[in-house]
């Protein structure tokens, strides 16, 4: 074969990163996150304190968990709009069981998690079996879950079970006065688990295959139907888990919790470099997508001078600036790369 073929052999990680657009964009995302943090540090006092960054994890733990589940769904070529509602339903159900019916949280949590997974699996089954569009099925799921939450309780239910309060107030000290909450630790574990699941298991790789080409996945003999249902079940499970973490965060169950969370989760996943069309993305990217969203909010709070409407405009503007820089950097570096794969 001719010389270009020889050039296509990648000797090391760096050159592979350079050529593989997916890993490259992940690196760029991380780089931009760091740059944005430094900019914040220059502009605002106390911005670079470790606790500020730990707060990103503490305050976004539930979003992170939901986004990990969402990453699988989006990589498989689908979408799950029900996540925010499932979070809300889980908080209400958990609070209702604990407060109204006197269950021990440790008994209620497994039930909540199982219900979340089952609900996801149900939506997955509808999508798979009846060829319905994920967008509308999960939209109906969103109505249903939030509706069910309001049916259980219209009002916010505070949780004061000793166990729950203890977990909520648990802070894992990391030295220097900085600490991490239990929810954040769970979220990090979910990220790690998600990364392993996506990268190292048959299920995970099946998800990528389906997202790349469902027809091919079928012809390759992959269990497409089971994987698809599994993806939505996983997302439902993650949402329920996020609901549980949410109750540790808020000590309450409320049907209006986590409104609009689905969009935040989708945005985080996409900012993290996952293609909405499916087939490509990293769980680690999602972690940074969530952190970027959190950082934008933190920047705005630290500024503290913006009116309500300028807040919205600033969020949009920062989001745009981030995505544009990401896009431009990825593009230009790909142009500089030795051989562009045919588009």
């Amino acid at each position: 074969m001719s010389t270009p073929v020889a050039a296509m052999r990648a000797p090391g990680f760096l050159s592979r990163l350079w050529r593989d657009p997916r890993q490259l964009s992940l690196a760029i995302t991380i780089g931009l996150f760091v740059a944005m943090s430094v900019a914040g540090g220059v502009m605002y006092d106390g911005f670079l304190r470790p606790q500020v960054f730990l707060n990103l994890l503490i305050d976004n733990a539930f979003l992170l968990i939901v986004a990990v589940g969402m990453t699988f769904v989006i990589v498989s070529g689908g979408i799950d709009l029900s996540v925010g509602a499932v979070v809300a339903f889980s908080t209400v159900l958990l609070a209702w069981l604990v407060q109204v019916h006197g269950w021990h949280p440790l008994a209620a949590i497994p039930l909540v998690l199982a219900l979340g997974a089952a609900f996801g699996a149900l939506m997955g089954t509808l999508i798979e079996r009846y060829r319905l569009q994920p967008f509308v099925v999960t939209l109906a799921g969103m109505f249903l879950a939030r509706g069910a939450a309001t049916l259980l309780s219209v009002e916010s239910i505070g949780i004061d079970h000793a166990f729950h309060v203890a977990v909520a107030n648990l802070r894992i000290p990391l030295g220097g006065g900085a600490s991490l909450s239990a929810g954040a630790v769970i979220a990090l574990l979910v990220v790690a688990g998600g990364a392993v699941l996506a990268g190292m298991t048959r299920f995970g790789r099946g998800v990528y295959a389906i997202g790349g080409s469902e027809a091919s996945a079928l012809l390759m003999g992959l269990p497409v139907a089971a994987t698809r249902v599994g993806v939505y079940a996983l997302s439902g499970f993650c949402s329920a888990l996020a609901g549980v973490v949410y109750t540790f965060y808020m000590l309450s169950g409320y049907s209006l919790h986590a409104t609009g969370l689905e969009l935040d989760a989708i945005a985080a996943v996409v900012i993290g470099g996952t293609l909405l069309a499916g087939g490509s993305g990293y769980v680690l990217g999602t972690l940074f997508g969530v952190l970027v969203l959190g950082l934008i909010q933190t920047l705005i709070v630290f500024d503290g001078t913006l009116s309500s409407w300028w807040t919205k405009i600033a969020i949009g503007g920062l989001l745009l600036a981030f995505c544009l820089l990401q896009q431009l950097l990825v593009r230009s570096s790909r142009r500089r790369a030795p051989q562009e794969p045919p588009a």
């Binding site: 709009l81 509808l126 079996r129 009846y130 060829r131 319905l132 569009q133 967008f135 509308v136 099925v137 939209l139 109906a140 799921g141 969103m142 109505f143 249903l144 939030r146 509706g147 069910a148 309001t150 049916l151 219209v154 969009l263 989708i266 945005a267 996409v270 900012i271 293609l275 909405l276 009116s307 309500s308 409407w309 300028w310 807040t311 919205k312 405009i313 600033a314 969020i315 949009g316 503007g317 989001l319 745009l320 995505c323 544009l324 896009q327 593009r331 588009a343």
Partner: protein
């Protein structure tokens, strides 16, 4: 013999009707309305009152008008593999700009119809600009549609509130009220707006080659590009058009309640619009689309809402009812579901005999 012939031909007609993509959405709509009529006999009645038609059906059509408009724009954007989740914000911007313009013109002492035309021009102009912006981000800068339009969705309401200074702008100007509240030949004027846009669009897509190009781009953008279709320009203009429909909807909404609420106008409109598009049989992955389907889809959604109000369920049950009805409509439309249902029914019937 002629009887048999008539029977076969009528069966053929039936078959063709069943195969028509609009059949199932229409059936869903009809069932909804009929169900309402059974529960509540007054529901389907129409009266002539004060020189115009009055009744729930008129309300449904009238209320659905903004959603229909936005769904039409959304249909085309989705047909070329795009998505526009900023429509609600664009609607709010257009509504606010219209109210603001009128207030300004009035303050400057302008009278007659001048404020009306100024408001329409300004609102639609801004809406077109919003669409242009979305197209720029998607087509030129290559952002994923959902993120590109998320920017305007988030920032758009901020911009609208900036214009209105956070107030709900009330419009004290009669001519403007005609757009969303007036009646022409006894029917709400907004229906004529919707009809004009729908018919115009349909003619444009069917009579020119645009429809072919849109479908080609949606099915395979690369192949369309290679074939010489100006895929990017077309995609871009469809985003502009989607912005335009959202602006038009903004005019109708603000005119209807004679005020512009930057924060709440068009809240969650994007979800309803996408739902309408999907209910109408358009593939969300692009390519296959149906304008008439989206129109019916939007009517289904509004009929659902009105149904919920009419049957008087407690508000906390609204969402559950809506979820169940939407799921039922979806299943009804799924050929796989009908196939399985038929198989099960015939098995049971077979077992019985």
């Amino acid at each position: 013999m002629s009887g048999a012939e008539a029977r076969t031909s009528s069966r053929q007609v039936l078959h063709r009707g069943l195969a028509h993509p609009l059949f199932w959405p229409l059936l869903a709509l009809a069932l909804l309305l009929l169900g309402n009529g059974l529960f509540n006999p007054g529901f389907l009645s129409l009266q002539w009152r004060d020189g115009h038609l009055y009744g729930n059906l008129v309300d449904i059509a009238n209320r659905a008008a903004p959603l229909v408009l936005v769904s039409l724009g959304m249909t085309l954007v989705i047909a070329v593999r795009g998505l526009d989740i900023s429509v609600g914000a664009v609607l709010a911007i257009a509504a606010t700009v219209a109210a603001w313009t009128i207030a300004r013109m009035q303050a400057a002492g302008s009278e007659g119809l001048a404020p009306l035309f100024a408001a329409i021009t300004a609102a639609l102009g801004v809406a077109l600009l919003c669409g242009f912006w979305n197209g720029l981000l998607v087509v030129k800068l290559g952002l994923q549609p959902i993120i590109a339009t998320l920017v305007l969705m988030v920032a758009g309401r901020g911009i609208a509130q900036l214009v209105s200074d956070g107030q709900i702008l009330t419009i004290y100007y009669e001519p403007f009220a005609f757009l969303g509240n007036g009646f022409l030949f006894g029917l709400p004027f907004s229906l004529f707006v919707v009809a004009a846009v729908f018919v115009g669009l349909k003619l444009l897509l069917d009579r020119s080659a645009l429809g072919l190009f849109v479908r080609a781009i949606g099915h395979n953008p690369v192949a369309a590009h290679v074939a010489g279709v100006r895929a990017k320009a077309i995609t871009w203009s469809l985003y502009v058009f989607c912005g335009f429909t959202a602006g038009l909807a903004g005019l109708l909404v603000s005119s209807n309640v004679a005020s512009a609420d930057a924060n709440n106008a068009g809240q969650l409109l994007e979800l309803d619009a996408i739902l309408a598009v999907a209910l109408g049989g358009t593939a969300l992955a692009g390519g296959r689309f149906s304008l008439a389907g989206s129109l019916v889809g939007a009517l289904i959604i509004q009929a659902l809402t009105t149904t919920i109000y009419a049957i008087g369920v407690p508000p906390q049950v609204n969402l559950v009812v809506k979820a169940l009805l939407v799921t039922a409509v979806l299943l009804l439309q799924s050929p796989e579901f009908r196939g399985r249902l038929r198989a099960r029914l015939s098995r049971r019937a077979g077992g019985a005999t």
